[in-house]
Symmetry: D2
């Protein structure tokens, strides 16, 4: 299973009744699988998994599993607040064809989420999982931090093969890379800082941006791998405005609006999330245009 390069964390389309829109999801995948991406993540943060129930989740997995051809890595987000919930979701995802699962940290009982608690949680999930497990740290949404000291303990588990780190703290990324085994894959979650994160040693990225401009993202990765650092840095700068709009500025709503502008309508986010305002659509249009020039 390839865990290097660029993955798209795909959004979940909803229809006008706020229900999963399977037609749009199929249409979007028909587009995405034509690109050069290593693979896909469904039911991640950008997939609004936190806003969906278990039945919806299962349907999305089943449907997207069909859409992803073999040869592309198919990851499913199965993080839950309880250890038993994460295990159940993991087993269902495996049964539905996930190549591996991406398990976000629990984060509700923040003051109790010590290193030991994380080690216990991930060990139990990895023990029970029929497929390999990736850790997932996204402090900006969970409010907890899966520290390198905990990761280095969990990374020795034979069924734990890597992690996604969505934070942009260079020191932490460096510690993750240096504190885990050579074959443990660290994937960045931030399109705004993909190139310097690669320099810091990550193996690839799971980037909202890759849903919209997959070619540019993969090119950046390949420039880096070929040692063409100046070109990689230039490309990073050119895609930066769009990356920021899809990241810290508008999040999922920005991703969905950008996809619509790019000709792939996946609807609007589920409430309490709101669509981007008109001013945001204009900013996205401009940032997209800048990227399209690049991507030629």
């Amino acid at each position: 299973m390839d865990l290097t390069g660029v993955f798209a964390p795909v959004p979940t389309p909803f229809d006008d009744q706020d229900q999963v829109d399977t037609r749009r999801l199929r249409a979007a995948f028909a587009r995405w699988v034509n690109g050069p991406l290593t693979g896909f993540v469904v039911l991640g943060s950008n997939g609004e998994a936190a806003l969906m129930d278990e039945d919806e989740s299962d349907r999305v997995i089943a449907l997207t599993r069909e859409a992803v051809p073999s040869g592309r890595t198919f990851l499913v987000g199965t993080g839950r607040e309880s250890t038993q919930g994460a295990i159940k979701a993991t087993k269902r995802a495996a049964a539905l064809g996930a190549d591996a699962v991406l398990v976000r940290t629990p984060g509700f009982f923040k003051s109790q989420m010590t290193n030991d608690a994380f080690v216990r949680h991930y060990t139990a999930v990895a023990d029970a999982s029929p497929v390999p497990v990736l850790l997932y740290n996204f402090t900006a949404v969970t409010g907890v931090n899966l520290l390198p000291a905990a990761v280095s303990r969990i990374a020795t588990h034979p069924n734990v093969i890597g992690m996604k780190e969505s934070g942009g703290d260079l020191a932490q990324i460096t510690d993750l890379v240096t504190g885990t085994p050579q074959d443990f894959r660290v994937l960045s979650g931030s399109g705004s800082t993909f190139y310097p994160s690669l320099c810091a040693g990550v193996d690839g990225g799971i980037l909202a941006l890759a849903n919209v401009i997959p070619d540019a993202c993969v090119r950046l990765y390949e420039l880096f791998k070929k040692g063409k650092h100046d070109e990689a840095r230039d490309l990073q700068q050119q895609i930066l405005p769009l990356a920021k709009l899809l990241g810290s500025v508008y999040g999922v709503a920005g991703l969905k609006a950008a996809l619509k502008l790019a000709g792939c309508d996946v609807g609007v986010p589920r409430p309490p999330l709101a669509p981007v305002p008109e001013s945001g659509v204009a900013a996205l249009k401009e940032a997209l245009a800048a990227c399209e020039k690049v991507a030629v």
Copy 2:
């Protein structure tokens, strides 16, 4: 419906297989309903609702509804991350007999949880709910803050009757009390600061402590209402060590351990939460002993 005085946010007992233990739940309620509490909250934070699935939640509501006699207010936690999830949970809770629902803020997409987002979310829930709605702000677990400026807008909805504020920020509590209508009930969630919160104007409390020492909690409330401030302050100080152990120190695990010490075994928390360590049990024993002297 009485929304003043003291409520217990009851824990959910689990058995050795980490399943809801209905026998223990019934036994615990048989004890609690003998006390002087205004009412009960099931499926709150202390009920580990965040770690339970929808079926488990429904079973707990049904079972506890039977256990709570009329005349006591029966509140059910129905917060979910999505607006439609919160509405569904609210309708099910109402159908199962909830007197009102306590709806914790969504908190996953933190940077998008603006005042406007909260107003939209709670308005939709209150519009759809067959029973009255209480807001619930618990920043320490959600990582978002339902500010007084948003509350004062939501509080005008005819189906929103109050809120629980678990934070201890005196300025914020004061703003909540002064910025909402006279009949909007503000309930404190912190046993450590119950007396000064009453002074700041809250109408009562939903206190983990009330599961363990309900008489002392109600006495404190009544002393305050009678204007016996010195006695109230003394009582607050005597129960403070236990309140802190059940609050910021050990949380749910502390509550369950204290109940076991008090003769009411509700098991241990669901992983990734862990039971309190031996040292914690000793501290709880000491704090309980101090309270028992008081409660005579």
Copy 3:
């Protein structure tokens, strides 16, 4: 020395050349000493001490010492980042007539400011000080938190007589009150929450508000002492809007603008602080008018 009741943390007037304006300072004190305040703090946060050099500080102490009649407690802020700097400032303040010193925590090397570091720092200052010492915790400006666990250790020093806590965390205030000796004085720094802080056990307040509406502040304190809780709470609510404008909203600039509106021109704050904008002046005018009705 009386350390109960209400103190004013007086602002430092600057002239049009951004120099200490001794004329205005004398004029302001002539006004303040007519009021019912227990005493005064010079060179606190509201005195912009952080923006002044040592010579200016000494001149302000000398001048205000003359202005404060015996019978009023005269406190001087002497916190510095280094222990030796705090000791030197303390000795100079004592030589210039301070009744006691108010020593803000150092806060620059945040990660090194452990409980042990604070205990060492305050012990050294208290050992060296010719006059009694008060601790001063103001996390919102220093970014460090002098925790109750450290305070209870320092409070046993015979030359440490109390502290000012500017935070509004009810649990922390309660811990300070219960974790220190009976004769250790805890003073609140927040006018917005003065009444509930008194309920939580503080002995008085050092309140920016007391520069502007000293009578109302003292009345609130006396109502509390007489057990007239309902009247105290009402008064607290009436002065709340002004308290907030002088506190979290505009800070020192708000205090100076309010004093000017009240007929006591102490100029504008020293850059990089800026005067309140026009909209702020209007808000202050309205809040002041509400208080004046009360104060009659």
Copy 4:
């Protein structure tokens, strides 16, 4: 004036009486000037400037100015909380021979430190300064963040030539680099993340590490400039343990202890800072040994 490559932010030696130790300072500089560093910063955070008074500061500038040969860039930290204080310190430093000044943000009145306040502050300092000005953002000590949006406004001032950013937030570093003119120099303050920061576009670093292992730091920089990214990344990893001990773990105390181990005794930090404990000395010894192997 060269503002690329590696600078050492030199520590200030104190003697057993906690006074500036000029003999040790001269001895240390005799060592440092033999190395390949671009230049030196005196009175930065690592120089404990925040713990020193104005007279001490002036003496250190005068003494080190003599020690630094022409051809090396000599920077002096002159940040103060007040605008007028920063201007005075800047003028004195210029008179004493500073090539440029490094002006840390004010940070005391945190809630008032808006983008506008920073622009006003730095504009006033740059207008008044006889020498070029570098901005300095060190959020971990100041508690405020000089955002790229403010920097891009200030960077247009003809007397502002660059900045030091001590944070490790990749997105922010990227924004600083892309949002400022080509000839505006951005210098990193973090040895732990020097290589990836160079990839993100910084022009060099002001690194505590450069006091201890200047050759390795400069080699890393040169490897990067020559496009030898793999070697640069390897070297970064080898010096990482020492960098962390001098940075987030022990700070100034770690730097002074490491220098002593390396044969350059500059004493211990000024209280309230404390020397590193024995366990820390052992860790430093090990990390140093690892670097010495590299540096051969």
